[in-house]
Symmetry: C2
Subunit: 505 residues, 2 copies
């Protein structure tokens, strides 16, 4: 298995008058003997002397794949093949997460994350896009903010592991189409504006220096399939290897936007749509990010709402996973009806507040009827995406081998709750798989295995993009899904059973 970088230790013969090949050719010849066709960067040409002499011609060459050829991008004295590092970056619009990978062992030896510095120019992507739309200066500011976010993580990684990013050869970045536009310094208005033809979606390998990223070789950015289906999803494909299986699986990445892929080695259908910020605790009145003080777990027991609060402190609000738990519990306990309407008779915790019904989920914190309504619309959108994709592919839920849920959602949200509210299909829980940060995982895998480059070409070619907007009865289907778990309750037998169980108590 060969990655996109290499370190090779060479013991060369010192030049003599009989063999007076140049240092350059001496090294490249030896690499050729090892089956590596390489060229040298200017930086390395300048380092040849006195390094080779001082090292008695025992040197380690760092090689970076540039898409077509190996490029020698760094030289060290002696055998330094033990320190072969690379970087995987998940360039999220909220959070940037980086991993330092030991390319010899494939192990992650450090992970660091930070908020995306772009947030200073808008918490949501659209605000950021408008902030620098047709404004070269502000676009450069946005680019810088993006680079700085990654650099902040790299510094953190260095503090944590003692390994400077300068010692890393290659970097793989996965991010959505807007993030990659900003990283490369391209106006991203195109991502959200008709005809949705973006600037660039196949950046490939770019010299790190051109991007002002502090690794010695090249930066690979995952390509995107379309404006809404970015490199983070392609990276998720690499992470899950869904495109390799015989069985059909679903890949679901849900946040402000939802992206979905369904398929196997034969076919890949994909689609994306706005899911709404509700899922990240955005729109909800007391909603907040999953930070200290956020309610992230909810259980209703004996008429009492029990919560877990991040940081074990006093509750300040509620985050996505908490909301989903809360909604599920409200439904299962019968505190809301199938339309999500609060039934005040069911609990004294349901009160009128600011002229509307609300449930007090923690002391002094209320979840309002309109929050519920908003959330149901959001989850209906997500549900409908899955439903349409299945229908378009002529596949029934029973045929789905694995249902991957990527990202924070997959990690933090209770499967039971997500099923209860009809966000996930009612299926065997073991087949619902938390794909974790698959965007980051895919980046790490590519770093270690160049073979995925071919796979990526294949994935892009195979993927058929379904425009949800172009599906005739999308709206009808979505309306039908605006119930807990669904207007067609028969689709959720396990939820029915649990409701019955609870109501028997």
């Amino acid at each position: 298995m060969e990655g996109i970088s290499k370190k090779v230790y060479l013991e060369l013969e010192a030049p003599t008058e009989e063999d007076s090949r140049s240092s350059q050719v001496r090294i490249l010849d030896k690499l050729k003997e090892l089956g590596i066709d390489a060229k040298m960067s200017v930086k390395v040409l300048r380092k040849l002397y006195p390094l080779c002499d001082e090292a008695m011609w025992k040197i380690t060459v760092s090689l970076a794949w540039n898409g077509e050829k190996w490029v020698a991008v760094a030289l060290e004295k002696g055998d330094r093949t033990d320190t072969h590092y690379g970087l995987a970056v998940d360039l999220g619009s909220t959070t940037v997460v980086t991993r330092l990978i030991n390319c010899n062992t494939g192990k992650c030896i450090g992970e660091a994350s930070c908020y995306n510095h772009q947030i200073a120019y808008g918490t949501d992507i659209l605000t950021r896009i408008f902030h620098c739309k047709d404004n070269e200066k502000e676009l450069e500011v946005m680019r810088k903010a993006t680079v700085d976010s990654i650099v902040e993580c790299l510094k953190e990684l260095e503090k944590e592991t003692g390994v400077s990013s300068q010692k890393c050869i290659s970097m793989v970045v996965s991010g959505n189409t807007t993030m990659i536009h900003f990283l490369l310094g391209m106006d991203a208005f195109c991502v959200f504006y008709t005809p949705y033809a973006v600037r660039a979606d196949q950046p490939g390998f770019l010299p790190a220096a051109d991007l002002e990223l502090p690794v010695s070789g090249y930066v690979y950015c995952f390509p995107s399939k379309s404006n809404y289906l970015g490199g983070d999803i392609i990276s998720g494909m690499v992470a899950t290897e869904l495109y390799k299986g015989e069985d059909i699986s679903v890949f679901f990445d849900i946040g402000t936007n939802g992206e979905l892929v369904i398929g196997n080695q034969e076919f890949l259908l994909c689609g994306a749509g706005a899911a709404g910020p509700a899922l990240e605790g955005g729109v909800v009145q007391t909603g907040m990010r999953a930070a200290e003080g956020a309610v992230d777990e909810v259980k209703i027991h004996d008429g009492d709402i029990q919560t877990h609060v991040i940081g074990e402190t006093e509750a300040k609000g509620i985050c996505g996973s908490g909301i989903i738990d809360l909604l599920a519990e409200l439904l299962l306990e019968g505190w809301v009806d199938i339309r999500g309407r609060l039934i005040p008779e069911k609990s004294p915790l349901i009160q009128e507040k600011e002229g509307a019904l609300a449930v007090e989920y923690a002391p002094g914190l209320f979840f309002f009827q309109k929050d519920i309504d908003e959330f149901i619309r959001t989850k209906a959108a997500a549900h409908t995406m899955v439903e349409i994709m299945l229908r378009e592919s002529g596949i029934s839920m029973e045929e789905i081998a694995e249902f991957y849920v990527a990202g924070a959602f997959g990690k933090h949200v209770s499967k039971e709750s997500a099923i209860a509210i009809g966000m996930y299909p009612d299926m065997d829980r073991d087949r619902i798989i938390n794909a974790g940060n698959s965007s980051l995982d895919g980046a790490g895998k590519l770093l270690l295995n160049r073979g995925y480059l071919e796979d990526i070409d294949e994935i892009l070619e195979k993927m058929v993009y379904i425009q949800f907007g172009a599906v005739d009865d999308f709206l009808n289907m979505m309306v039908a899904a605006q119930a807990l778990p669904h207007t067609d309750f028969q689709r959720y037998p396990s939820v029915m059973k649990e409701m019955e169980r609870r109501q028997k108590r």
Copy 2:
């Protein structure tokens, strides 16, 4: 014929929701249709918007060959294929000469030259090398001086033609091994020091930005065969196409150092050696460069020395071509004997001066016996190089189809005089060809024809380097050549004839 750069005009369909390919892919796909497999630089990715829209998707792409692939390095609105330029650079240790080439017509549309700024750190190469030997800071100064020399020429070219170098896609540089080392920022002591293994001799295509050279794409530096046989000679091969002929030819580049190639499509023998600064007017007491006030032509007529002075002013000294004329005339008139000893009886212009014999070649300017001796040693070295190469290849002078003399020497020195003193062989004058600035010519040809890259690989492989120092009887041969024209006068029948003719008068 395809050069190392291209400009392609594309009329693209504007994106629609049906065809929402990215600007990048839209362009690359279209290029692929035209048979061009390309990738895009970061610079171009950033220019896609708003350029493509503003140009209504009628754009011109500049493509640079990077050694493996075409790289889109610039974008323009509309059809700008009429302005396709490239630069050829002869990076001489004394003079840097640049040519702006119209790559559509192949015509040179401007030439500019300047003294190499390195001269500030030593008039001769060795002084410069020692100046920055093992001194990173001074090496950087030397690199800068090299780059600045080229940039000065480019500015001059812009003034002359109105074409900025930024509008040029590719640059081809030919220079000797030391010059290329300095251009790339590499210590060059290795060039003159055992075991004569240099740092790098195959730089290939390097990003112009990495070299701080102001063209939009790549810079190709001719490779060198060995420390003393630099890229300027390889470029001379491309210029003369000596390696393609059926007939055997000689390529002779003589200055402070002499480089020699002999061969045809079957074989190439090459060698190089110090010729001595005498040839450039260096060592000679009243010697000077070919500048205003230099005697550059000499004739003896009716006992009188007639001279031509550069700039038509009063003579201040004598340059290389003047010295060779003077020596030839002294011999032909019988004012010196075959050993080059001045015979005072022959002319009142031969006088004792500062305790030695000297000939007053211009009012108050003397050419001394020791100057003659020095010069004879120099020309003997040059002669011996040719002689050895012929002997090693088992070829007689009669078999030589063409005798190319490169550089200033070929341009300015009288063939008759050079033969008379035994520097050139006594051969058919029409077969002695002034190759001009073949280093620059070769660079220009490569710019226009990528096919030469293969030829260059072939040339390097085919070339057999003869170490003159390793030739047993080199010294004996050189001593035999230390006569005017040669101790074996039979080799110079036309010179004998001319002497007889003059002495009959």
